[in-house]
């Protein structure tokens, strides 16, 4: 399993330097670490996924002594590991470049991990179920919905989101955190099991 997670790094080794360079660039212009953390984690996880999906890597992986359960599980475990590493890099960078990184850091980190987990919980099963070219259609559809939402339905969507993040970071009740974490974990595990079911029925 660890091998499969390492594989996702090896197949992206040429782009890792670009990831780090752009993270530094964004930090210098003071883009929010939360936004960067979520964005880079999801991009890293999904780039690894689509690299496998584009070629015949699934034929290779399933001809090697791995079970399909392991192939899927490596994505879900890898997602948590990659997110942690990226958060570490971002906050390390933020600390050295901007001299920040002490106040209520753990809440930000929790928020990043939570948002990545929720995003991945939706994207992975859909990606396993549908072919890449359909994913583009789904993406176009989502962008469409988003545009309609901010222009017609909720013009202040961004303010609401910003408010949500502020509220989350300001929350004092540990109980609320506990509930949020629990829901996220349940969603993630559910998605994990669903992806295994989908992948085990696939033909290559």
């Amino acid at each position: 399993m660890v091998n499969l997670i390492l594989k996702d790094i090896i197949i992206q080794k040429n782009t890792i330097i670009i990831y780090i360079a752009t993270i530094i660039l964004y930090l210098l212009v003071e883009v929010s670490p939360i936004f960067l953390g979520v964005l880079y984690s999801v991009v890293f996880i999904m780039t690894a996924f689509s690299t496998d999906d584009k070629g015949n890597a699934n034929i290779l992986l399933n001809s090697l002594p791995y079970t399909r359960k392991e192939v899927v599980s490596s994505k879900y475990m890898g997602a948590l590991i990659f997110t942690s590493v990226i958060i570490f890099i971002i906050y390390l960078g933020d600390f050295f470049l901007n001299g920040k990184g002490e106040v209520f850091l753990w809440r930000e980190i929790l928020l990043i991990i939570g948002l990545v987990m929720v995003t991945i919980s939706f994207i992975l099963p859909i990606s396993y179920k549908f072919k890449s070219k359909h994913l583009v259609m789904i993406l176009v559809g989502l962008v469409g919905i988003y545009l309609v939402t901010i222009t017609l339905l909720i013009p202040n969507l961004h303010d609401i989101l910003r408010g949500f993040v502020q509220n989350f970071l300001a929350l004092q009740e540990t109980q609320m955190y506990f509930v949020a974490i629990l829901i996220t974990v349940i969603l993630y595990i559910g998605s994990w099991l669903l992806s295994i079911r989908i992948y085990e029925r696939k033909a290559f």
Binding site: N3, K7, I10, I59, L64, P65, Y66, A203
Partner: protein
Amino acid sequence: MMENVIELQHIHKSFKGFEIKDFSINVKKGFVTGFIGGNGAGKSTTIKLIMNLLKQDSGTVSVFGMDYKKHEKEIKERIGFVYDENIFYENLTLKDMKRIIKPAYKNWDDNAFQRYVNEFELPLNKSMKTFSKGMKMKASLAIALAHHAELIIMDEPTAGLDPIFRRELLNILHELMQDEDRTIFFSTHITTDLDRIADYITFVHNGEHIFTKEFYKIEEEYAIVKGTLDLLDRETEQEFISIRKTNTGFEALTADKNRVINIFGDTVIVEKPTLEDIMYYTKKGR
């Protein structure tokens, strides 16, 4: 008793527009089995079933006497594979591919890998997309041999290769078969490849297993028969799998050479069939 390394029993699998019904084949341990059939005959589907890339609707697949439900990893530890399509990450080098594949196997042998990379003259530091089809085939073989695969499964390994590469591959396979426990199962539609190397021939047509026979027995049993049209009537036509008639006479395939010689005697010419003849006339007869 001869052991089977692969056993497919009563497999049913249906796709859109294609179906395998009650399909059973065995592959003998320690031999080279050539797997022939036209395009769309079910060769790739069979190989995917053997590799567990595809799951049957019903029936059983057993490899090394084990089934995939319980022993997926044990089985795959012992299989080497060469596919028709590219399975490597295009942007990675062979060295990177090794880094990914090596930890998957318990009995990976770095020295053996290096030896075959040298022997096959494969570059370790060039990206896989610069590899020709023949080089990719050799890279797959080097990987298969580096983990000492007992069973090597190849899907059309010679398709699209130039004659020199094909000859080289056949020589390599020949060498590999010096190891008595090793089994090679490979599909091809270039039947002349098999003349040099195959011990057994398994022939499929339209999702149906036509026969599995020892190569030399095929030549003993089957024959191409040529004669004049007046020899054919409703009764004698029954002797053939199918018949091709022209203005000057007929040419036909029989699965019982001796019987045909008894019936027609010297009035016909009896020739040794090629595998292509057998494939052609079988298709025509169905």
